[in-house]
């Protein structure tokens, strides 16, 4: 009824630009589209261009160098080692985030006293800027008297030795911070999926005599599978492209053993001044996160 009236009324007067939905939609959308495209395409183009150039920090004049840097980078051990580290950190973090995300989603949904406080605290890692939390984790791990310091010593790290001088503990720290930071996000996504399960289904399972475990494994988990897949893909995409955590927590060390492709690109290009190789590594690291994004879009389109 309203729709008919809305269609009929403008016919009586001249339709101005501000009243025509099609052009107005473009006018509303174009600024954002242009802004985003420009500010994503320009740096991306610059990266590719510098990957094909001879420019360095000392001598930024542009000379075309062809695919030389790509060949150099692909022949380096550091590149393949960083690729392996990226895959390792991403894989382990994703599995742990999915598991802990389920637990946290349960906590967020539970009907508890003081639920708001628990929600705020649980979501704190996700909402705090990554840089702040990475620095905070560093302090927590560095201080021998802190709970984390005690855990490290119990795990066999001698007190004089610091965690970021050993590849294994440095790697574990990177994974821990990623998991800690992204599990709340996964929990929120899974929570939304759980809340979307129709009440009747859960009630029916309960009436049919399914216990809590059976309800979890045969109702909740299968029905939240799309949300869980989304959480896993978002985690994998964010982790494998992340620079900040590695940069601030370990700086890629000890001896490059926690360097991911993204942080290696930054270390070589921005900090090391080797613009060409840095940009080449950045371009070569693109397929991994891109695969995550494409997978994410496919999952979202299906559901």
């Amino acid at each position: 009824m309203t729709g008919v009236a809305a269609d009929a009324s403008p016919a009586g007067r001249r339709r101005r630009f501000t009243d025509r939905d099609g052009p107005l939609a473009w006018a509303f959308l174009l600024p954002s589209i242009v802004y985003l495209t420009a500010l994503v395409a320009v740096p991306l183009g610059l990266t590719v261009a510098f990957g094909l150039s001879d420019a360095t920090a000392a001598d930024p004049t542009y000379r075309f160098a062809g695919g030389r840097w790509f060949a150099t980078v692909l022949g380096e051990g550091a590149f393949w080692r960083s690729l392996g580290d990226t895959l390792l950190i991403t894989g382990v973090s994703t599995v742990l985030v999915v598991l802990l995300g389920q637990v946290l989603a349960h906590v967020l949904l539970a009907d508890l006293r003081g639920r708001w406080l628990i929600r705020v605290l649980v979501l704190l890692p996700w909402t705090t800027p990554v840089a702040l939390s990475a620095i905070s984790w560093r302090w927590l791990l560095d201080h021998p008297g802190s709970p984390a310091g005690r855990v490290l010593r119990a795990a066999g790290v001698p007190p004089g030795d610091t965690w970021h001088e050993r590849p294994a503990t440095a790697m574990a720290a990177v994974v821990v911070v990623h998991v800690w930071r992204l599990a709340p996000l996964a929990a929120v996504l899974v929570m939304a999926g759980t809340a979307a399960i129709p009440r009747e289904i859960r009630d029916a399972a309960r009436v049919d005599g399914a216990g809590p475990w059976r309800r979890a494994f045969e109702v909740t988990i299968p029905l939240t599978l799309p949300a869980t897949t989304v959480a896993a893909l978002v985690t994998a995409t964010v982790v494998c492209a992340d620079v900040t955590v590695v940069d601030l927590l370990t700086g890629g060390g000890p001896a490059g053993s926690t360097q991911t492709l993204a942080s290696l690109a930054l270390a070589r290009g921005a900090d090391g001044g080797a613009v060409g190789p840095g940009a080449a590594i950045a371009v070569l690291s693109l397929p991994l996160p891109l695969a995550g994004v494409v997978g994410l879009i496919r999952v979202l389109r299906r559901s």
Partner: protein, 286 residues
């Protein structure tokens, strides 16, 4: 006969009491398990920040007061850092809302098929790897000179905040019934003025939530500030535990605010929904 039925009733009652007890015990165990899990995960999630608080205010097992808070305020240009973050954050928030509000409206109300493709593209943009969004170039070769570092931050931060804002505002808009603005159209408003005078005021709580979120995203962004080397210290690095505590408290509050608004907008029984879903009785006759 009477005796046996009495005995049967007594055993039945005893059985019932036993089962009730068992259920009560199980209930208490389940509840305390949930509470333990909740408290444990809350402590674990807050652990680094709790440690910051302890480090900031405790010295060798005694309360140190503000003794540790003063040095970062005195010996570093902390006020300048804070001012930078505030100024950049405020400008980015304004830019984000200016771009995202119309875009979100167009995507939820004005477009049919192709709007989805745009949303999908924005999604890809939001997830573009950060290394590629700020190329690994030293500041000398970057597009902006050193003096304009803060302005370059104002320019680039909306790349992160606009997609998020469009997505959130779109979700809020879908929860608003379209009837109200259609009434405005019937009453002779153009689409533009209906958007400005009807939709935007209705979205006020959502706009507040998105503004807070955009501000925190901008103030917390580190990568862009780090890469042009000069801006790194001006914006990103806050050098003391006290700084982290100062930053974390308003953030926690902001999150609560966003969640509350989100909850109110998305819950079908919320006050916003019940108030607006009343049928628009006398209007269609006009």
């Amino acid at each position: 006969m009477n005796v046996t039925s009495g005995m049967a009733a007594r055993t039945a009652a005893r059985e019932l009491a036993r089962q009730r007890r068992r259920h009560a015990v199980r209930h208490v165990l389940a509840r305390s398990g949930t509470y333990a899990l909740a408290v444990g995960s809350a402590l674990l999630c807050a652990a680094p920040f709790l440690w910051d608080v302890i480090v900031a205010f405790v010295r060798r097992d005694r309360w140190a007061g503000v003794e540790h808070v003063r040095p970062p305020l005195r010996s570093t240009p902390f006020p300048a850092f804070a001012l930078n973050a505030l100024a950049v954050g405020a400008l980015v928030t304004v830019l984000t809302l200016l771009f995202a509000l119309p875009a979100a409206y167009a995507l939820t109300r004005l477009t049919r098929g192709w709007g989805r493709a745009v949303v999908r593209a924005a999604f890809v943009v939001a997830l573009v790897p950060p290394v590629l969004r700020y190329p690994p170039l030293p500041s000398a070769t970057g597009p902006f000179g050193r003096g304009d570092a803060l302005w370059s931050l104002v320019l680039v931060h909306p790349v992160i905040t606009i997609p998020v804002a469009v997505w959130l505002l779109g979700a809020f808009l879908r929860a608003l019934p379209a009837d109200v603005e259609e009434q405005a159209l019937v009453d002779g408003h153009t689409r533009l003025s209906a958007f400005l005078r009807v939709v935007v005021p209705q979205l006020a709580p959502a706009i507040a939530a998105v503004a807070v979120l955009a501000f925190t995203l901008s103030a917390g962004e580190f990568g862009y500030a780090r890469v042009p080397a000069s801006a790194g210290f001006a914006h990103g690095a806050v050098p003391a535990a006290a700084g982290v505590v100062l930053a974390a408290a308003p953030l926690a509050f902001a999150v609560g605010l966003v969640l509350a608004c989100w909850h109110r907008a998305s819950s079908p029984t919320g006050p916003a929904r019940t108030r607006r879903s009343t049928p628009n009785g006398p209007w269609p006759g006009r």
